[in-house]
């Protein structure tokens, strides 16, 4: 057993973990952030994507102890439970969600991209979500949604 401290969605957590525990298991099983989905469990599908210190990671490929002292954002940290985040709003409006299993990871990849690059080209958007597999949507409506979200975020920035 090992005790680690980490920040998840802006809150500090101190938790006991096994040394071989994966980050996804810490998030889902121990802390109940079940918005993070496990797909393949081997870093190929991106369903378990979370943001760690500003970079997307597959939480199935990161061990929990590696998150010590880090800042993690999960899908629960996007939007506030009441109001939708502009990315989520754009996903709904564009019909970017079908079965939904890949969507938490998609939204987080979109957020990490837009945080770094507020006005990406369509090809940069495609690159930004290329680590997230989707079997339903064919990606195009997701690309449309991220493009729209970038405009929403720009407008939000202007009004502030």
């Amino acid at each position: 057993m090992k005790k680690i401290a980490l920040n998840i969605n802006g809150e500090e957590y101190v938790v006991d973990i096994n040394e071989d525990m994966r980050l996804i298991d810490l998030l889902r099983d121990k802390l109940h952030f079940t918005g993070t989905k496990e797909g393949c469990g081997e870093g190929e599908c991106g369903a378990c994507t979370v943001i760690m210190d500003g970079e997307t990671v597959n939480s199935c490929m990161v061990l929990a102890f590696q998150a010590e002292g880090r800042e993690i954002i999960t899908i629960e940290g996007v939007g506030n439970g009441e109001a939708l985040h502009p990315i989520q709003k754009a996903f709904l409006e564009e019909g970017a969600v079908q079965c939904g299993f890949c969507i938490p990871g998609m939204v987080l990849s979109a957020k990490a991209l837009l945080d770094k690059k507020p006005a990406p080209t369509r090809n940069e958007i495609r690159e930004g979500i290329s680590g997230n597999l989707c079997r339903c949507t064919g990606y195009n409506k997701i690309v449309d949604a991220i493009d729209k979200a970038s405009k929403y975020l720009k407008e939000e920035g202007e009004t502030k």
Binding site: C40, E42, E44, C45, G95, V97, Q98, C99, G100, R122, I125, R126, E127, I129, S130, G131, N132, L133, C134, R135, C136, T137, G138, Y139, N140, K141, I142, V143
Partner: protein
């Protein structure tokens, strides 16, 4: 060297189980004691948009706002069997069952308003609670049953009427073939899809994008690699499916030619949007490099081999 080519393929596809297999959808439309309209149906929502489309059909048939429909599906203990979410059959088959049930309920509500209150109206929305209260604790329920037209084909001649209706579609696809690596990139695509009537155009576009990516994977990437009955490519590291970078933007043309037997003219399109993709890609490869590929997926290895064979003139 990179070579470009364009290919087309079209398909007509019979929706429903077909070949005489019983294809029945059932639905219940109910005016609840709380004045809400409830639709009960066993149809399964798997992300394709059945809940949305079937609620739209109910709202249209009842003449009430979309938001007044409480749609209850999938729970087999309280919903009637509407068949599987398969065979591209929910919009057409179950849509028809819901339309029938909703029309019956609407007529009953109009009758009650006329007989009990002397109100003659086509606009039932404002009177729903009033009518609901008349029945006390009992909800007003109407069922709708739709049976698709299908006959078994003659085993000898292949004749018969296995499916009804048919959906038509055509794809035009541009590819770029790298003759050094054998990699095929799909650079442009246009889809013309007959839908009967577009109940929800945005959902149709989503189905076209999704079907395209499955067809693209089927045509040039996805290989389960069966060896002695075992699937060797049993994970995403070896079984490759398209990513966002593999997909082109698709120019979509929705063709509305209402089908007389469909709910408001609509037909199913879930599978039809996928069928013609792979053949159109293979035709485009032929157009680009002159080799006629007859085995899918057209992986780089297979294409390079075919290009070598062509070079040697064997």
């Amino acid at each position: 060297m990179k070579k470009r080519g364009i290919g087309y393929a079209s398909t007509f596809y019979g929706t429903g189980y077909g070949n005489g297999f019983p294809d029945i959808s059932r639905a219940i439309a109910e005016l609840g004691t709380d004045g809400n309209i409830y639709i009960y149906v066993g149809a399964t929502e798997v992300g394709q948009g059945a809940k949305t489309i079937l609620s739209q059909i109910a709202a249209e048939a009842l003449g009430v706002d979309f938001s007044s429909i409480v749609f209850i599906c999938e729970d087999t203990s309280i919903t009637p069997d509407a068949g599987t979410a398969a065979a591209s059959r929910q919009t057409y088959n179950t849509g028809n069952a819901i339309k029938l049930a909703s029309e019956k309920l609407r007529n009953e509500i109009i009758n009650i308003l006329e007989k009990r209150y002397g109100i003659s109206t086509e606009n039932i929305e404002d009177y729903l609670l009033q009518v609901a209260k008349l029945n006390g604790d009992e909800a007003l329920r109407m069922d709708g049953i739709f049976t698709a037209s299908t006959t078994e084909m003659d085993a000898e001649t292949g004749q018969g009427n296995p499916y009804y209706p048919y959906t038509f579609s055509v794809y035009g696809i541009e590819v770029e073939v790298d003759t050094t690596t054998g990699i095929v990139e799909v650079t442009k695509a246009v889809c013309g899809q007959d839908v009967g009537r577009a109940i929800n155009p945005k959902l149709i576009e989503g189905q076209i994008d999704g079907g395209f990516s499955m067809g693209l994977g089927y045509g040039i990437m996805e290989d389960i690699n069966l060896q002695s009955g075992r699937i060797k490519h049993d994970r995403f590291t070896s079984y490759l499916i398209p990513t966002a970078l593999d997909m082109p933007d698709i120019d979509k043309i929705i063709i509305e030619e209402p089908e007389a037997t469909g709910p408001y003219g609509a037909k199913g399109i879930g599978e039809p949007v996928l069928v013609a993709v792979a053949p159109a890609i293979l035709n485009a490869i032929y157009n680009a490099v002159g080799v006629r590929m007859k085995e899918i997926p057209v992986t780089p290895e297979r294409l390079l081999k075919a290009l070598k064979v062509k070079e040697r003139g064997v």
